[in-house]
C-alpha cells in the first residue's frame, strides 16, 4: 500500500501565513488540510469596550490588502444600529473608493500573484524579465486603484477619511476629476487583460459550486445588496447568521464557515459574483467575458483570473461614471447619535462576502463584535477543490502536483491575514 504526503510549510503569493497538507493512500486522498498558522489576533475580543466610532479604523487593521472592506463593513453595521441613512453622493463616494480597492487588489492578484502560475514562472519579477512592458502596465493598473484610495481616503493602506455617517472631508471636485484619463486607459487595459488571460492553458476542472454573493437591484453589487445564492437563497444581510456559521477545526487558527442548510461547502468571490450578477455587468464587461470564452456561469476556478479581469473592467467603468458625475456632497457626513441595539454590515471584499455584526450599549460602546471574513468561509471549498485536484492529477510528478495545488489555492486569492482572526502546504508522499 502506497501512502503519499504532499506538504507545503509556507505558501507563497498569498496574503498571510498558510499551509497545505494532503495525504494520499492507494490513489485516494484520505486527508486534506488547508491550515492557517497566522497567529490569532483577537479583533472581536478587543473591540469590546471600544466606542462605535473607533471600530472602522481598528477593524481596518485586520487586512492591509482590503481595509475598505473592513472599514465599510463596520460602518454599515454601526449605521444599521444607529438608524443612519446616508445621502446618494456619500453612497457614491463609498462605491468609488471600494472600486479603487477592487482595482488595486485584482490588479495585484491577477498579474503579480496568479499569472506567474500559468506561465511556469516563480514570480512577477521573472515575468518582468520576459515581458517588462506587461508588468509595467500591471503596476500602472494597480496604481490607479491606489490613486482612487488616496484621493478619496487619504492613503492606500488603511485610509483615514471614512467614518460612521460618511466621510471626514469631501474630496474636491478637481481632485476627483484628475482620475478621468487614467480610468479611461484602465478600462481598455482591463479589457486587454481579460483577452490576454483567456489565452492561458487551464486545467480541465469543474465543480458544481454553491455560490453566495450580494445582489443589488441595479449595480454589480459591491457594498450593498441582498445575500443571494444560485440555489434559491435570497435574504437581507441581517439574516446572515440564520444561514451561515463558523466552526473551529484543529489545524487552523481561522474559523471555517459553513451553511446551516446542507453539508456542501459554498464559494464566495469572483466566480460567485459573476454567476449571480452576470445580468448586472455592463455591456462592455459582458462582451469582454464573451470574447474571452466565458459563458454566463464559470465553474472552473482556474478561470477566476479571467473573471477578475472582467470585474476589474466593471470596477473601472463604474469608477469612471462616478468620477464624471461627482459633485461635492452638501455635507461630508450624516450625524450619528449613539443608541443601544444590534446592527449588520455586509460587503463584497475582492475575495468575497465579508460580514460584520455589532451590539452596542446605549452610550455607543461595543458589547459584542462578530466579523466573518471571506477566506474563512472559502476554506472548506478550497479543501474540497484540493481533494479533487489531487485525485485528478495523481500522474503528475510530485513537484508539479504541489505547484498545481498551490495554484488551486491561489484561485481563491486567499487573504490569510483576514481569516485569522488564516495557510502552509503539506502533501505527504511516502
Amino acid at each position: 500500500m502506497a501512502t503519499k504526503i504532499i506538504k507545503v510549510g509556507a505558501l507563497a503569493r498569498v496574503e498571510g501565513e498558510g499551509s497545505l497538507y494532503v495525504r494520499i493512500k492507494d490513489d485516494t486522498v484520505t486527508d486534506v488540510r488547508f491550515g492557517i498558522f497566522e497567529p490569532p489576533r483577537f479583533f472581536e475580543a478587543f473591540l469590546v469596550g471600544r466606542d462605535y466610532s473607533e471600530a472602522p479604523d481598528l477593524a481596518a487593521r485586520i487586512c492591509g490588502i482590503c481595509p475598505v472592506a473592513y472599514e465599510l463593513g463596520a460602518i454599515l453595521a454601526m449605521e444599521d444600529v444607529l438608524g443612519v441613512t446616508v445621502s446618494q453622493p456619500i453612497n457614491d463616494l463609498r462605491r468609488l473608493i471600494y472600486c479603487g480597492e477592487w482595482i488595486e487588489s485584482h490588479g495585484l492578484h491577477t498579474y503579480l500573484l496568479h499569472a506567474p502560475d500559468f506561465l511556469g514562472l516563480a514570480d512577477a519579477l521573472e515575468l518582468a524579465k520576459v515581458d517588462k512592458p506587461l508588468v509595467e502596465r500591471a503596476l500602472r493598473l494597480k496604481k490607479i486603484g491606489n490613486d482612487i484610495l488616496e484621493i478619496v481616503g487619504g492613503r492606500a493602506v488603511h485610509p483615514v477619511n471614512l467614518k460612521v455617517g460618511g466621510f471626514y472631508r469631501s474630496p474636491r471636485k478637481a481632485e476627483i476629476r484628475r482620475l478621468r484619463d487614467d480610468l479611461k486607459w484602465a478600462i481598455d487595459e482591463s479589457e486587454a487583460s481579460a483577452k490576454l488571460f483567456s489565452g492561458f492553458d487551464f486545467p480541465d476542472f469543474e465543480q458544481d459550486y454553491t455560490f453566495i454573493a450580494l445582489r443589488h437591484e441595479r449595480d454589480y453589487a459591491i457594498h450593498q445588496g441582498r445575500l443571494v445564492s444560485n440555489r434559491g437563497l435570497d435574504v437581507p444581510v441581517s439574516e446572515f447568521l440564520d444561514h451561515f456559521d463558523e466552526e473551529h477545526v484543529e489545524h487552523s487558527n481561522a474559523l471555517q464557515g459553513y451553511m446551516k442548510a446542507g453539508t456542501s461547502p459554498y464559494m464566495l468571490g469572483p466566480l460567485a459574483r459573476y454567476a449571480i450578477n452576470h445580468d448586472r455587468l455592463s455591456e462592455r464587461a459582458r462582451a469582454a467575458a464573451r470574447s474571452a470564452g466565458l459563458g454566463p456561469v464559470v465553474l472552473n476556478p482556474f478561470r477566476s483570473i479571467i473573471v477578475r479581469a472582467v470585474e476589474m473592467l466593471q470596477a473601472c467603468e463604474d469608477a469612471l461614471a462616478l468620477v464624471e458625475g461627482y459633485d461635492e456632497p452638501d455635507r461630508p457626513a450624516e450625524t450619528a447619535t449613539p443608541r443601544a441595539g444590534v446592527g449588520h454590515g455586509c460587503t463584497e471584499a475582492p475575495r468575497g462576502v465579508c460580514y460584520h455584526r455589532y451590539q452596542l450599549a446605549e452610550d455607543g460602546s461595543i458589547l459584542d463584535a462578530r466579523i466573518i471574513p471571506p477566506t474563512s468561509q472559502n476554506q472548506k471549498a478550497i479543501e474540497d477543490d484540493l481533494r479533487r485536484v489531487v485525485e485528478a492529477n495523481l500522474d503528475l510528478a510530485p513537484d508539479a502536483l504541489q505547484w498545481r495545488c498551490e495554484q488551486a489555492i491561489r484561485n481563491y486569492d486567499p487573504c490569510i491575514s483576514c481569516a485569522t482572526h488564516f495557510l502552509t502546504l503539506t502533501v505527504e508522499w511516502a
Partner: protein, 259 residues
C-alpha cells in the same frame, strides 16, 4: 567588467495585516528599479522561489505572538546583516497588543470554540524585545517614501533621513488648521512621531497615533488638555490605547487613567 553582486533582500512576516509589505509592492513606479538594485531573495507574498540566506537586508513586518515566532525571529537575525523592522506591529506590538492589557484566555474563548487548539503567547511583542534591530521604521502602515529612503540609505551605507520630531510640526508645515484649537477635537499630534504628512488633521480629524510616540513625548500635558476638552478618564485612556498601545510612553500614560 564583471557585474557587481547585488545585495540580497528578504521580507519576513510575523503577526500583522500584510499592509506594510504591501507598501513595498505599492512602490509601483519604483518596484522594478528596486528589483534591479537588490536581489529579492525571500518575499513569500510575491514569490514561490525563496533563496537561502544569509541576507544583506531583512525587512521584518509583524509582532511576536507565538513561541514559534520567537524561534523564527532568532533564525532571521542570525541570517541577516542588517535587520530593519517595518510598521507598528514590528516596532511596538501593533493593534493586537491590546491583548497585553487583558486576560488572553478570555480573549481566546471569546473568538474560538476550542481554546485548546490555539497556541499563542500572552503578549504581542515588538521585534526589538527579542533580537537586536538596526533600524525601526514606524507607521500603521509605513510611509512608502520613508521605506524607499531607508532601503536606499542602507544600500548606500548612510543613516536614513527619517525625522523623529512630532507630527504636530509636519501638520503645521502642511498648513493645516489645528483641529484641537479650532474645533476642540482631541489629537495625538503633539506626542506622535511624524511620518504620515499630517493626514488626519488634513481631513479634519485628530491624529490617532499610527506612527507611535515621538522622542520624549509630554503625554501627561496632553492628557490634561484632553480632560480640559471634556474627555473622561476612559476616553483619555482609549486615545493612548490604539495602534501603538504597547509603546512604552503610551502604555504608561494609558495606565494612569484606569486599568
Amino acid at each position: 567588467m564583471a557585474p557587481r553582486k547585488r545585495p540580497k533582500l528578504a521580507v519576513w512576516k510575523f503577526s500583522s495585516c500584510d499592509g506594510c509589505q504591501l507598501s513595498l509592492l505599492d512602490c509601483e513606479e519604483d518596484l522594478l528599479a528596486i528589483s534591479e538594485a537588490v536581489d529579492i531573495s525571500y518575499f513569500l507574498e510575491a514569490t514561490r522561489k525563496p533563496a537561502k540566506g544569509p541576507y544583506d537586508i531583512s525587512l521584518v513586518e509583524g509582532s511576536i505572538a507565538t513561541a514559534h515566532d520567537v524561534e523564527t525571529i532568532r533564525q532571521v537575525r542570525r541570517q541577516s546583516r542588517t535587520l530593519i523592522t517595518i510598521g507598528a506591529c514590528a516596532t511596538a506590538g501593533g493593534v493586537q497588543a491590546l491583548r497585553n492589557f487583558k486576560n488572553v484566555k478570555s480573549f481566546i474563548s471569546r473568538v474560538y470554540a476550542h481554546p485548546e487548539f490555539i497556541e499563542t503567547l500572552d503578549q504581542s511583542s515588538p521585534i526589538s524585545d527579542l533580537v537586536a534591530v538596526d533600524f525601526e521604521l514606524r507607521g500603521c502602515p509605513v510611509n512608502k517614501a520613508q521605506l524607499l529612503e531607508v532601503l536606499s540609505a542602507t544600500l548606500n551605507g548612510r543613516k536614513p533621513n527619517v525625522h523623529k520630531h512630532a507630527e504636530c510640526i509636519e501638520c503645521k508645515m502642511r498648513g493645516n488648521v489645528c483641529v484641537t484649537v479650532a474645533k476642540g477635537e482631541p489629537c495625538l499630534g503633539p506626542v506622535v512621531q511624524a511620518g504620515c504628512g499630517g493626514l488626519c488633521p488634513s481631513v479634519g480629524r485628530g491624529c490617532f497615533g499610527c506612527f507611535g510616540p515621538t522622542e520624549t513625548p509630554n503625554t501627561a500635558a496632553l492628557a490634561e488638555k484632553f480632560a480640559a476638552l471634556g474627555l473622561d478618564p476612559r476616553d483619555i485612556q482609549r486615545q493612548f490605547r490604539g495602534l501603538n498601545a504597547n509603546a512604552e510612553a503610551f502604555r504608561k500614560e494609558s495606565e494612569r487613567h484606569g486599568n
